[in-house]
Symmetry: C2
């Protein structure tokens, strides 16, 4: 096991109706003038936004709202939020939404106390200082409610980049599974895929002797395999939603990723898909992961066979190669069963795009011709991954 | 799933040689005059204490030492530590040791800033304020490095009681698995048993639909079953020690115990054993858990059968009753295999003590005749649990 540090100081408040405690929690963490960031009209239509704003008012807190965050959130709204914070002397940023809303709130919180352009943080500068951030989570997927990370797309050039720092870790996150019951089946399935991808990116490691984190990841994946389809089939299943919500946080606060190398090639490969086809991140991952593993498993057949046997119940008495391939097929079928696509065609793409996709994956974002993680892939191998999606 | 809050703000620094960062970390969390609390002579003989104290000195921090913490730590040393803190204007308490040392440090930290008798906190008063605490862990067992709890025995009457509060959660915990390599096999096995007990106390729940935490607990138990015997057999196995150390923290920071009722009857039953026979807590738990489950499984055969199948690999095609009993037998055999006792006789007790043990378990510590958790046990049933240890 490699040396590591682990830090997850967020105060999690989980369960029914807990969003009405937003005011109490903002106050606990020192806020008095609060910027409430949210996405589309569903937050206001459902009455959630009102409940949250009322709860702030009941504690005597001043609030300002900033709506309109979109999936793959943009820099424009971040600049707007920063201006608003400065103008109104905001001292706390509260995200009400999913990963995109939380990531926007984090960017605003960091930018509001920074003299330069907030984009500096998304160009490699570590975030050392920020306004305190809190969240009311409405989508189980990205894990941003318990992470120090934020991903924003710069409109000028459409660069999608990440920033990180303990200062933007949420002070508190309110996780009410009932708030996710209104999500349509497709979006629910995208979230499930994203959570499973966060687990599998950590699972595909080159570090030896990591039983404890292996077993934790396997356990969380097994829970997702059991609970995910229930929530897709029966959106009102509170218990399934609750299990998924806690797994989504645990999948990404890194409890089960410490002390081991991680992969993240699938995220890089997928990124080109969502950039080109504007598909949902989860849908892109559902197509990418089996396609990627079909090539990458050869690097460590025993590991992928372990994944196949422990997570997908593949037999002990077949050889590792056969088990690994069977596991990858089970993964593909699982995504299919919850309504996710499994080919690039279903995302709106075709074979003709592959050269471009592979080239951008290899040389975009400052890369120098390779993707490195569990394996090292050059441009030709990345083309093969995309061809596996046909 | 029940509503819950989860908070685990400790900064964990894990790996080889990390104890040399003690000074840097105390400084990071605001300490300048440090009380270093430790146990017996092994900390100084091994050179660990010197390394830690030097690391404080290198950062320009003043340090004071207080040694002599014993297993089942006593109130006397706590009073001594509180006096020392006041006399020397100590502003940080650093524990170098296992659970007993950490619990003593926590008690001192709370008592030093409290006007009354620190024992008030161990008589039900919540700890709201304390000096900051840090730890350098040397035994994987109690999980105190990531918990808000402390257990102290009052010498006057030998009452063993617990206190709790976020204020005594360690600000940082240094977890270097190599520091546990000097532990003898028996003490290693006691620690493994304690960790598994923390997991099983959480597993035996009456809350329905808790797949995510079930699967996490099962995963951690499977890791302990694989890695535990390696460390017992080969004390120098760093990787096994590392897996156990992280599992020990995860077992007790409550990541996998949230939103579900927990049991803890075995801890209550065991407490009478270690009080009467002065045996190690882990050894007492190894005797208690199978004895307890042999009676308690009837309350929810399906749950214990699930435990038996998923954790101990019992067959799917036998009935639940048979599987449950087979799982309990596997647990007993596992403890035996790592060198733990399985009868009350091996702890130094006999049948003649059972009435007294059961009576104290039922009516001691302010109890009113029952032990409640996964099941409800009256005095007659508790006698049966003790008889199952013969």
């Amino acid at each position: 096991m490699d040396n590591f540090t682990f830090y997850s100081p967020t105060y999690f408040v989980f369960g029914k109706n807990e969003e009405t405690r937003a005011g109490e929690l903002v106050k606990k963490f020192g806020g008095s003038r609060v910027l409430v960031v949210f996405g589309g009209s569903s937050a206001s239509k459902s009455g959630l936004l009102e409940r949250v704003v009322n709860s702030l008012g009941e504690e005597g807190l001043e609030s300002f709202t900033l709506g309109g965050v979109k999936p793959n959130p943009r820099s424009g709204l971040v600049y707007e939020g920063i201006d608003l914070c400065r103008k109104e002397n905001v001292d706390f940023v509260l995200a009400v939404g999913g990963g995109s809303v939380i990531d926007t709130a984090k960017a605003i919180a960091a930018g509001a106390v920074y003299d330069g352009d907030f984009w500096d943080f998304y160009s490699g500068k570590r975030i050392e200082e920020a306004l305190p951030v809190g969240t009311v989570l409405t989508i189980s997927a990205a894990g941003s409610e318990g992470s120090p990370d934020s991903v924003i797309t710069k409109e000028d050039g459409m660069f999608k980049r990440g920033a990180s720092g303990d200062a933007i870790r949420p002070k508190f996150s309110i996780l009410n599974p009932a708030l996710t019951q209104t999500l349509p089946a497709y979006q629910t399935a995208c979230g499930i895929t994203d959570i499973m991808a966060h687990l599998m990116e950590r699972y595909m490691t080159n570090t030896k002797d990591v039983q404890t984190t292996d077993r934790m990841i396997e356990g969380l994946l097994l829970a997702m395999i059991e609970e995910g389809p229930k929530a897709v089939k029966e959106p009102d299943d509170y218990e399934a939603r609750a299990n998924i919500m806690w797994a989504g946080m645990m999948a990404h606060n890194n409890s089960c990723g410490v002390g081991r190398s991680q992969d993240w090639i699938s995220h890089d490969v997928e990124h080109e898909l969502s950039a080109l086809y504007d598909c949902a991140h989860g849908a892109g991952l559902a197509v990418t992961f089996p396609a990627y593993l079909s090539l990458a498993y050869k690097h460590d057949v025993a590991r992928v066979a372990q994944f196949a046997r422990r997570v997908w119940g593949c037999p002990e008495d077949i050889d590792d190669e056969e088990a690994a391939l069977m596991g990858i097929e089970s993964l593909r079928q699982f995504f299919k069963d919850i309504g996710m696509p499994s080919t690039i065609g279903e995302l709106g793409g075709s074979e003709a795009d592959i050269d471009k996709l592979a080239h951008t994956a290899c040389y975009g974002n400052g890369r120098t011709g390779k993707l490195c993680g569990f394996v090292e892939l050059d441009e030709e191998q990345i083309k093969q991954v995309y061809r596996n999606m046909l």
